[in-house]
Amino acid sequence: MSFPWAKPYEPTHPLMKWMDEKLPIPRLVYNATGPGYPVPRNLNYFWNFGVLAGAALMIQIITGIVLAMHYAANASVAFNSVEHIMRDVNAGWFIRYAHMNGASMFFIVVYLHIFRGLYYGSYKAPREMVWLLGVVIFLLMMATAFMGYVLPWGQMSFWGAQVITGFFSAIPIVGEPVREWLLGGFVPDNATLNRFFSLHYLLPFVILGVIILHIWALHIPGSSNPTGIEVKDEQDTVPFHPYYTAKDGFGVGVFLLVFVALTFFSPNTLGHADNYIPANSLSTPAHIVPEWYFLPFYAILKAFTFNFLWIDAKLWGVIAMFASIALLFFLPWLDSSPIKSSNYRPLYRIFFWILVADVLLLGWCGMQPAEQPWVILSQLGAIYYFAHFLVILPIVSRIERPLPMPNSITEAVLAKHATDVKSVSATA
């Protein structure tokens, strides 16, 4: 489905006509990412991050396939096989560092993509399904990244697997059997490593499948935009190609520059020294910390230190951690305001920025040992996190009085340019 003014696909070359009759892939591409897909003309740079996340996934899949050719998923040799890649495989150090930092880059762009959605109300009707599929992708990414981190079989791999699968043992009665079933043993060992490798190879392709659904669902209403006003007529849009292919091309360039700087000049900054020590079930590291992209959720887990009602603190932590992500599934219905863009939501906008600061604070606390003031800060941070989504957001969307809005995307664009011209002539 698309707008009525979308340019129709009309192949002229006989080969393309022949192809169009047999298998209309060129038509699909033309209508999905080509001139046949009209997109709002006013998208800002925050709309680049979807394409960048796709680029990050492709980089992970390509580097990952090459790594799998040299890696050995066996607990006795896994660690040394990674060092073999680092030392003896041609450009192996590059492929391995690119994959390692590629995971971080993937999460950076996905977090920016998610916060873009939160600020501009991209989760609201008619795009709820796009958001729901996005949360599914996020969960799959977390599972994939966790299992990937186990594969080098260093100390953090082992103890990370121990702690994270330990979450399940907090569940009464069935918890411990479930954990043993997941691990294939009582502690992470060869069985665990093998299944994690298998799943780590599988899940990226599942992610790819859900991304196709995510884009499909997006293309039915079309992209949202910084005003949050839906497209009304042709002058509100430009064809995806060449306008957004060019802009995304530039975005990919900037993304790769950051990626390359991290991979070549500082590849171990986001990792842990302990993971260069081979896994040892008899020696527990002083601080077991997950990768940076899990830290806010880890802080929420650790914030619950009190046995409240009949649920003990550990189970509260585990439930809260899962709930902190699961509540995103309900976001389209928690926020009842019809206004999408925070540019016109003076009250919500304030809470949005508090949420950004709160998640950063939680991330910082997640990195720290279980000492004061980090414990109380993560408790306060977790209180705000839940209050934001479950209490503040529903109330704010009722009582807020939105700012006056333009009638259309084009009107907003022209008004912006008029003020630009005015301010230029005023200074001149």
Partner: protein, 270 residues
């Protein structure tokens, strides 16, 4: 329905957290060892940073000498092959001779019994102990770690290794009794729990450098740390050099994509 339910769930979590705040003591348990613990000293090496780093081959050669004559008595280096030391400026002939100086485990081709033979460039540095049990038995039940990755495998990296090697000292007078080094332990404020099983490994003039450098403890510590930076990542310098090429290539690519983006959008207000 979602909003009232969400509200209740939110209140549940918030109540549990508020109760957690009021039941968690605001004061940390005092950690005495923390007061005596020191942060690593900074060690500047030629391979540091991103501005034209390089291997100081003379220093790496001296460092390898320290490893071979001192550290290798207890610590293995099992990820490094003799052929790798070509990076340190040794010729093929020198590497062959160097390898020959080591006995590596082998089997007797006639009887199949365990035996040893002269090292070849394709062999790895042999371990000082046959296995972990033997290593622990010889070291008061402490296990000397393999040194191949040590500068990447410790918080603080090369700074930490250098500080640890130069940090042995007699315990301060005000050190509480429970933190005093026990039998077979040695006080070192850079080590996490202040007392480690390794005895001070270096003494002045313990090795005789071929290039005439004075073998102070500080000098030997610097040299062997530089060597261990190389063993942890032999591709470090190449990585930075390739990084520059890739970065500048992409910079030009990005400028071109920016110009085409501006060009395509020139007629559109947005």
């Amino acid at each position: 329905m979602v909003r009232p339910l969400g509200f209740l769930v939110g209140l549940g979590f918030i109540t549990a957290l508020v109760l957690a705040i009021f039941t968690t003591p605001l004061k940390n348990e005092p950690n005495v060892a923390h007061e005596f613990h020191k942060h690593p000293k900074h060690l500047k090496l030629a391979s540091d940073g991103v501005v034209l780093p390089h291997w100081d081959k003379a220093q790496l050669q001296r460092g390898m000498q320290v490893y071979k004559e001192v550290c290798s008595a207890c610590h293995s280096l099992h990820l490094v092959a003799f052929r790798d030391i070509a990076d340190l400026g040794y010729s093929e002939g020198q590497i062959k001779t160097f390898a020959k100086g080591f006995q590596v485990p082998s089997i007797n081709p006639d009887t199949g019994e365990p035996a040893t033979r002269d090292g070849l460039p394709s062999d790895y540095f042999p371990s000082p102990y046959a296995n972990e049990t033997a290593a622990r038995a010889a070291n008061n039940n402490a296990l000397p770690p393999d040194l191949s990755l040590i500068t990447k495998a410790r918080e603080g990296g090369k700074d930490y290794i250098y500080s640890l090697l130069t940090g042995f000292q007699s315990p301060p007078a005000n050190l509480p009794a429970e933190l005093k080094p026990g039998t077979g332990l040695h006080y070192n404020p850079y080590f996490a729990n202040l007392n480690l099983a390794m005895a001070p490994p270096l003494a002045p003039n313990q090795v005789t450098y071929a290039d005439g450098t004075k073998a102070t403890v500080d000098q030997m510590s610097k040299d062997v740390t530089a060597f261990l930076v190389w063993t942890a990542e032999p591709k470090l310098i190449k990585r930075i050099q390739v990084g520059y090429a890739v970065f500048f290539f992409l910079l030009i690519f990005t400028v071109l994509t920016y110009l085409s983006y501006r060009n395509i959008w020139a007629d559109k207000k947005h």
